[in-house]
């Protein structure tokens, strides 16, 4: 333990290069911070706009959330410059996450159900079909 500690001091205790490196990082963090704040304001503002069909609101909302999520994962969590092993773990995880997310929709009938189910504010087609397959309500 003591050895490790003294090593650490000797190695990067006076490393001006690394400090410059971190300072560059901090500028990026501040930029990401501003973008995340902007994204949050945008998400709320857009949710009050009616894009005609509700699925469009959902798509835009999720798109902004995905961009924000990418910023956090990529830069705050340093995923853009991570080691290969971490990437391998994440690729497998994301694959199963996506599979898990959509397996429920796949288990329902066709794609018309998705359109009908999300499109709850319009009175157009798909609604009746969705209602017919929707879980029973009490």
């Amino acid at each position: 333990m003591a050895e490790h500690a003294s090593d650490a001091h000797a190695e990067d205790g006076h490393d001006p290069h690394e400090i410059e490196h971190i300072k560059a990082h901090i500028k990026v963090y501040m930029l990401i911070f501003a973008m995340l704040i902007l994204g949050t304001i945008l998400t709320v503002a857009i949710s009050y706009i009616d894009f005609g069909e509700h699925w469009k609101n959902i798509a835009i909302g999720l798109a902004i959330a995905s961009v924000k999520g990418t910023l956090v994962a990529g830069w705050f969590m340093h995923l853009i410059s991570e080691k290969k092993l971490i990437y391998s773990v994440m690729v497998v995880t994301i694959f199963f996450f996506v599979a898990l997310s959509f397996i429920t929709i796949w288990s329902m009938t066709g794609s018309s159900l998705i359109g009908g189910g999300l499109n709850q504010h319009s009175t157009t087609g798909g609604a009746a079909h969705a209602a017919a397959v929707a879980p029973a309500h009490h």
Binding site: M1, H4, A5, D7, A8, H9, D12, I19, I22, I26, Y29, M30, F33, L36, I37, T40, V44, S47, Y48, N57, I58, G61, L62, A65, K68, G69, V72, A73, F76, M77, K83, K84, L85, I86, V89, M90, V92, T93, F96, F97, L100, S101, F102, I103, T104, I105, M108, I114, G117, L118, Q120, H121, A130, A131, V133, A134, P135, A136, H137, H138
Partner: protein
């Protein structure tokens, strides 16, 4: 005995132990929340588009004003700020500046407490807000007078209550007013509470997970997320105060600990970035 690679990266992977550990843990966390997001999608897609909230299988729309959007948006900002301070705390340690680390991590802990405080206020508003269905089929939302938490018609019947005083929310069309239900005294000022006989009531229940499929998934997801905020805050708080002793004996390892708990904290922020639009806005 010394455990290898607690500070120095392993030559073949280029990673120290805790880094691999936290990412494997985060992978399992992604799957945990994945199961809930999957359930959310099923409930959301399966919701009957012809029904209007507060019907059980209906999905509430933005204008129903169920959730307090300003509170949710503020909480989003609070978590974003804490995500920045947690990464700045780590960067400060990398630059050998313990005092800055202490300041940034203090802000992180304060943000975590603020988040939990706002979430609690939101929950409290839900638990004292009611859904009332009469035997003639009409349904209302509103508050019991005097204010009561966690009440249901079953509990009232067991207590042999024969009549309740119910303050109805403004009906739709006044959706702006009802959106302010968190502090809704002004919104209700023009309304008079009504006496309603228990024999006319089919269902009276607070806005908890049992009220509808929407609230079931809302409380499950935000509840699990809030537990993560509490857990993360405990670890960050430990490393902020007693755990920071390690800075003097093994600064590199301490910096790694701060980095690793920061990674967890970013994940918690990441989950909220999706939860907020999904539950509050869409």
């Amino acid at each position: 005995m010394d455990i290898p690679y607690t500070t120095k990266p392993r030559p073949d992977t280029g990673l120290y132990n805790a880094k691999v550990g936290i990412w494997l843990f985060l992978a399992s966390e992604i799957m945990l929340f994945g199961a809930l997001f999957s359930s959310y999608i099923l409930l959301r897609v399966g919701a009957d588009p012809k029904l209007v909230w507060p019907a059980l299988a209906a999905w509430p729309s933005h204008s129903d004003g169920l959730l307090n959007v300003p509170m949710g948006a503020i909480n989003t900002l609070v978590l974003i700020v804490s995500s920045v301070t947690v990464v700045m705390a780590w960067a400060s340690l990398k630059m050998k500046n313990f005092n800055k680390f202490f300041m940034y991590q203090g802000i992180t802990v304060a943000c975590a407490i603020l988040f939990c405080g706002i979430k609690s206020a939101e929950y409290a508003a839900k638990f004292s807000h009611y859904h009332l269905v009469l035997k003639d089929g009409t349904a209302f939302t509103g508050h019991l007078e005097p204010k009561q938490y966690f009440m249901t018609d079953r509990k009232l019947r067991q207590a042999k209550v024969e009549e309740i005083t119910f303050l109805k929310d403004p009906q739709k069309g006044h959706a702006e007013a009802s959106a302010e239900h968190g502090s809704g005294d002004e919104a209700h000022a023009s309304h008079e509470p009504e006496k309603i006989k228990m024999s006319d009531i089919k269902r009276l229940t607070f806005w908890g997970p049992q009220q509808s499929t929407y609230f079931a998934i809302y409380f499950t997801m935000t509840g699990l997320h809030a537990l993560h905020v509490v857990g993360g805050a405990l670890v960050i708080g430990y490393l902020w105060l007693p755990g920071s002793r390690m800075w003097k004996t093994n600064p590199e390892r301490f910096t790694n600990r701060v980095e690793v708990c920061g990674l967890f904290w970013h994940f918690v922020d990441l989950v909220w970035i999706f939860l907020f639009p999904v539950l509050y806005l869409l």
